[in-house]
Symmetry: C2
């Protein structure tokens, strides 16, 4: 375990950035896609499959883990890495986004959020300080500040109020993290990211970014996107926010996205991503391939002996016929969800590896244009 | 692919038999436990995990596969082995048992069984000839005759009628299989087993066994047990049937059972077993270990950093804490069902391997007595 957090920008090409983030649990090659391990497991995928697929880092959800099995319990058991048997870096979110989307009777004030668990109705409070404490207890390599994320479209005043509140919470999160470092609850090398908010309002985004940059976070997330706005608005906002962020810090675009979204976002300077799409789609019979999405529920696959991708390094994509995958999905067999979640997770990692190679070799623009065309093939 | 089917009895000890069955897809070491791959997948377990756990053979269900994806389709795709990526032997049942337990509007006559699919209500007929044909299309290494299995308790006349009908079906199955061999639909080395019926009536069991032995099947199943009778009656009936069967043919006790059942049945001369218990229990949070059953739903495991069995060769049993397994099962995560199905499948194979070693070393009686005591520990 190294004790340092550091971002190195290795190359840039056509807006894309090639880099490396050093963390206590190893290096994250960027652009990086983080599979989502909501409840301390990436659904239906074994940890060693994630590692073999090339995932350097996964995301875990503070909201789910604080409710079950509980942050203090995970800390007693040696932290989240040991608990779920994942030896590489983990990024945790702050819990705020999921409180707003999942919890019952939630109430948000300047102090924090109070809510009832969607599992058993028990009451909880999540403050900026508690969100940092939980993530320290989990032992995350990268922690996120508590923020307020507004669903779009929203009135400007509402978005502005969330920006102001999120900035105040950023300061409180930073202070809490520094205290935890002093107390030994946080360890050197762990890093807390600030989150840029502001909806799709350019002025608010700039204000949020500038204020966070002044606080000197080791990395910045761009939150509050992919929450109802158009793809164009999302990308424009990303570009605008990225422009205000220091080039020597990683930028994490939260909750994005489809393969094409990822390419577009990398071209606008984003370095890190997370999304449930590869695993959720896999459970529902949808596969991502270099020729676009494949819906395995479709009867046209029932007699097809071909695999999803004979050239893939992932056994799930390379070795099992579409006919078999179709059968498993139609039969609602565990193995269908397992194989497609694995194949999709691997595809997303292959996509990121291809982007990194293209940036390294100064051919990202051509690669992106060609790949988007291939990926946009109609779902079959 | 060898073209021979052969059983070699290597040693006997305290009623237990150590043997080897040669099949077109390799050798089955007996006593053997066959994981159940109902719909062309052992639920929540990868094929390579089964092989690594030491499973020489799996069972697949004719009833499920004839309905979905269809036997002719699997044949077009190269057979069941290729379809599900399992390179070792496969035994298929005849479909009869599951027609009676799952199908709607089933009607049984001397000709066969007609029924409606539990999936979509479509009408099907299963005759002795069609059951053999389907199993040939699937490419099973070991095929089972269509039989009639009566739920117990039942009137003697009903059991006797089923014995008579099953014997007639045994002859028709054998003739159909011989014709399929001539036609090239069956291949040399595939073997059709007869099934002894007769409830727990000693005279009927003897009559069934003697008639089947006269027909000279390459192996014999003992069916119609574990369907409502007491464990003692099951074991007594097994012993009685096994006594009438030739020592140089394998004996398959269908649908059994718990670890202790398996030990008792091996001591009464049974060589092969199948049961959904390890995988079904796994999906429900129950683990089998050398110290008895462990119910991972129980809150006492929530803080337990110990694995199920630190000495196991199975990663699922050895490397993951009970606390994590408890969390996964409580959270209804795929990985919980995956890990426990894997661990249980591996435990059953370890149990069979231990029995084979004990028989080989002439210490089966002592091993069985000691092991039953350990396994009978209260479920925790």
């Amino acid at each position: 375990m190294s004790a340092s957090f550091a971002f190195r920008l290795l190359a840039t090409d056509a807006g894309g950035r090639l880099g490396e983030i050093a963390t206590p649990h190893g290096v994250i090659r960027t652009p990086a896609f983080m599979p989502v391990g909501t409840a301390a497991t990436v659904k239906a995928v074994y940890p060693d499959q994630l590692a073999a697929a090339g995932a350097d880092v996964i995301l875990a959800n503070t909201y789910h883990l604080m409710l079950r099995p509980g942050a203090e319990r995970i800390a007693r058991l040696g932290g989240l890495h040991r608990f779920m048997r994942w030896t590489r870096p983990i990024l945790t979110d702050s819990g705020g986004f999921q409180v707003m989307s999942l919890a019952k009777l939630r109430k948000i004030t300047d102090g924090g959020v109070s809510f009832q668990s969607h599992l058993d109705g028990a009451s909880y409070e999540l403050t900026p300080e508690r969100a940092v404490e939980i993530q320290c207890l989990l032992g995350a390599d990268i922690l996120m500040q508590l923020d307020e994320c507004v669903a779009l479209p929203a009135a400007r005043a509402e978005v502005e109020r969330a920006v102001v509140r999120s900035l105040a919470w950023a300061e409180r999160s930073q202070s809490a993290f520094a205290r935890n470092l002093d107390l030994g609850l946080a360890r050197p090398g762990q890093a807390l990211f600030g989150i840029v908010q502001g909806g799709i309002d350019g002025e608010l985004r700039r204000r949020s970014a500038d204020a966070l940059v002044a606080m000197e976070f080791p990395g910045y997330a761009i939150g509050g996107l992919a929450v109802g706005e158009s793809p164009e608005a999302m990308l424009d906002t990303l570009a605008l926010a990225a422009e205000r962020l220091p080039v020597d810090r990683p930028r994490y675009l939260m909750g994005v996205g489809t393969p094409v979204d990822l390419i577009e976002a990398v071209a606008r300077g984003a370095d890190m991503f997370d999304c449930v799409l590869p695993t959720r789609s896999g459970r529902h019979g949808q596969a991502f391939t270099w020729s676009g999405k494949v819906n395995l529920r479709n009867a046209r696959h029932a007699d097809d002996p071909a695999p999803l991708d004979p050239a893939s390094s992932c056994p799930a994509a390379r070795d099992y016929s579409r006919a078999y995958l179709h059968h498993l999905i139609k039969s609602e067999e565990y193995l269908g969800a397992m194989l497609l979640s694995w194949a999709n997770t691997a595809f997303y990692q292959q996509l990121m590896a291809a982007m990194r190679a293209a940036i390294a070799e100064d051919r990202f623009a051509a690669w992106a244009s060609e790949t988007k065309t291939r990926l946009d093939a109609r779902s079959r």
